[in-house]
Symmetry: D2
Subunit: 248 residues, 4 copies
């Protein structure tokens, strides 16, 4: 993959307009902080938000030329049109990478791809979190120390109602007594999905260079692969290709 | 698990009424052949079909007292009410076992739990199939030879668009040149799902004792476990339980 | 599995003779406390220790009639004869269940079955541990709350150098800031292996009923399954069984 | 990974000297054909063989500057010195990629890393093989059709006694009735291992461009990642880093 990876940073972008304490941290929106961080890693980055027209900024054209999408949503999951969520999910199955961040665990797109409830425990007391690398062979752990420490975060706790990840890269420790599978990889169809826990609207998590490093690593991991599109449906190759036992 | 496992065998049951060649093989419906087979393994078995009223025979009461459900559907997946499919899926996440058979790969319940397209290749030329055990430590492979041979079956071929199974128990070989992940286990929430490929409306697959043995093994594997119901949502234990670092 | 499962509790048994503070907690040895605990769950339990003759108590006869073995070792891993370790490992591949406890992560048997270094971080400051269930569909989590709390334990921390488990059942939280994959399942050959972290020679962990419950659940999960012994080597079925394309 | 990946192609290289029918296919040895194929994919490739001195060509210096090693062996696994096998395995755990080809399933290095018996069925009747892609999201499947067909190969059949792979990329179909997990990925320590079935000393498999494409893809997937070296052993951070509960 020598070509520049095209990333679309999608953000609900509601908190930043309605809550002063969010505005204080992300005056131009979470998406712009994420986009700036990812551009420093050499990606070609666009942004889109819930209020963009049409289709929350996710038209067929935008989807078609997105290699990897990052998704942030929290208070307005329901306002994402079913049709758009369906199309994003279909694009993942076709090969687009998807990185779901923090409260995106309850987004229509993520839940649709997982098939489970995706709920968890949470607590907001600004406690300490450590994200430990549990798979040091995984490219998403590149260029990082063996744990990332965040001094003040929202807690997410197990049981996190997800399918067992194909690769588990990070497990979080929280000062208050909980653990969480914080960095999870799945293959879905021809695409890849990474869930990454950190990020909150009132803590400056996405300004943290290690956190951006993880997301950049995940973008590279999730970028599309030039594999064959499987043939589906009635499959009747020429008769000479069917062994002699392939007849009733 | 000393108590008798309660199984509900659900069947679409449409072919058996409308197609003579299906009627010839399953005059009383696929569900009754499956139910008879499973009763011989000591389970308490009920049946339900698409046309049963109300709710295709899957009322809240039926769901509540089902330990494991087997599902067969093919030509009428769309006629299963969304609300019923949603409830079955919710029961799986709560702990009910689910065994999806053959063309149930395209059922609303299975696709909803997988999150992928679930399509595959298929071909009907009555070719030979062998199901090889690839995990001989797995209880679903108990009391079987190292492969099951079916002289005449419909072919299902890869790529089967499913999440990678948590455990892969069987891989099928087909005379015409294809392979298929035929016995796949997943954990979803507090429940378990097993997909098992064999079975077709015009081949007498469910009269085969080895096939019934697999389904019986899967019923035992998928039976509910008495685990704790995880607490979800805002999780605020008494303050003394939060470590000193758990404060902003 | 209606028959009584036969368990052999193996213990190095050195600390209990040489260290007063261990003697104080386990005057009759760790193995006898574990054996008593497991007998209450209905298993037929024997014990063996490093100093037993011959073969550390693990003769061919003992191995042949053991369904599940639990293994505890710490300071004398090297004194286990290579030949005995090799035989135990071979029995696992043949179907015997193996439950490796605490410092058994560095035993010859476990390391041989894993193929990795199996090292980890550790710290002895009697800190608090919580073992969170992360797979509430798994039978090893049966009859337990959503976490087990141990007030004073040795810490084990990531990265734990093991192959990714086939099923991850528990993740531990430690007060000092670490996490650990504490309950890990693997299939190996026709056998099953469970690693369970808790247990230490100077903390009374194996008197804890929840800990014993986990080990009892693991015994049931790991008990042998009556699967076919795969044929290996040159495989030349009768010629009529080889398709016409199976010729040069 | 912009830098050129350094590959060491290791080959037992015995057949090519002793068997005329092997000499006919690989007059300069399997290693040189593999090396030439990989050079076309832009890697910096060296070779080494069993008879190279010292240490079968695998000195500490060679190991230290190898990013990914490919391994081919068959009739002389026992002649590989234990010490060399141990060092290669240690380098994998440190981060070196390892690609085990065909009969390397019985090599000391592979078996040591797997912990299982690694045996399988085999048959030499020059039958047809098809390798189906079962994970079209995986980079090892890049730039390939949905299956690779080899007109004449040795058969390898299940049960293949390996740990369940972390990612299963290819499943083989054989004309004679068997299936095989032919492309398997594992993470081990900080390193990655790929097993790839095709290749035989008397069939010209490594001249096949699709087969070389798979190996080249695997080299890229297995190349080392710049992750942190985990701290192991007694882990006692400064006291202020241990929470207040971290004291007895």
């Amino acid at each position: 993959m020598n070509e520049t990876i095209k990333v679309t940073v999608w953000n609900e972008g509601v908190h930043e307009k309605t809550h002063d304490e969010v505005k204080a941290v992300y005056p131009n929106g979470i998406h712009n902080v994420l986009a700036d961080g990812l551009r420093k890693h050499g990606f070609q980055v666009s942004t889109a938000t819930l209020d963009d027209e049409p289709d929350h900024g996710l038209t067929d054209e935008v989807l078609a030329c997105t290699d990897v999408m990052t998704w942030w949503g929290h208070m307005a999951h329901d306002r994402v049109k079913d049709e758009v969520a369906r199309k994003v999910r279909a694009r993942v199955l076709e090969g687009m990478g998807l990185i779901c961040l923090h409260s995106a665990h309850m987004s229509k797109v993520f839940r649709g791809l997982m098939g489970t409830g995706c709920m968890l425990k949470w607590r907001e007391v600004a406690e300490k979190e450590r994200l430990w690398v549990v798979n040091p062979a995984h490219p998403i752990a590149a260029d990082l120390p063996e744990y990332i420490e965040l001094p003040h975060t929202e807690m997410y706790g197990e049981h996190f109602d997800i399918p067992a990840p194909d690769d588990l890269v990070f497990i979080s420790w929280f000062a208050g007594g909980e653990v969480f599978r914080s960095g999870c990889c799945w293959h879905r169809g021809r695409g890849k999905v990474f869930y990454f826990r950190p990020g909150h609207e009132t803590y400056p998590i996405y300004y943290n260079e290690q956190i951006v490093q993880v997301i950049a690593n995940a973008v590279r991991w999730a970028a599309p692969v030039n594999t064959a599109v499987p043939v589906r449906g009635n499959y009747m190759p020429p008769l000479e290709d069917i062994g002699s036992e392939g007849k009733a």
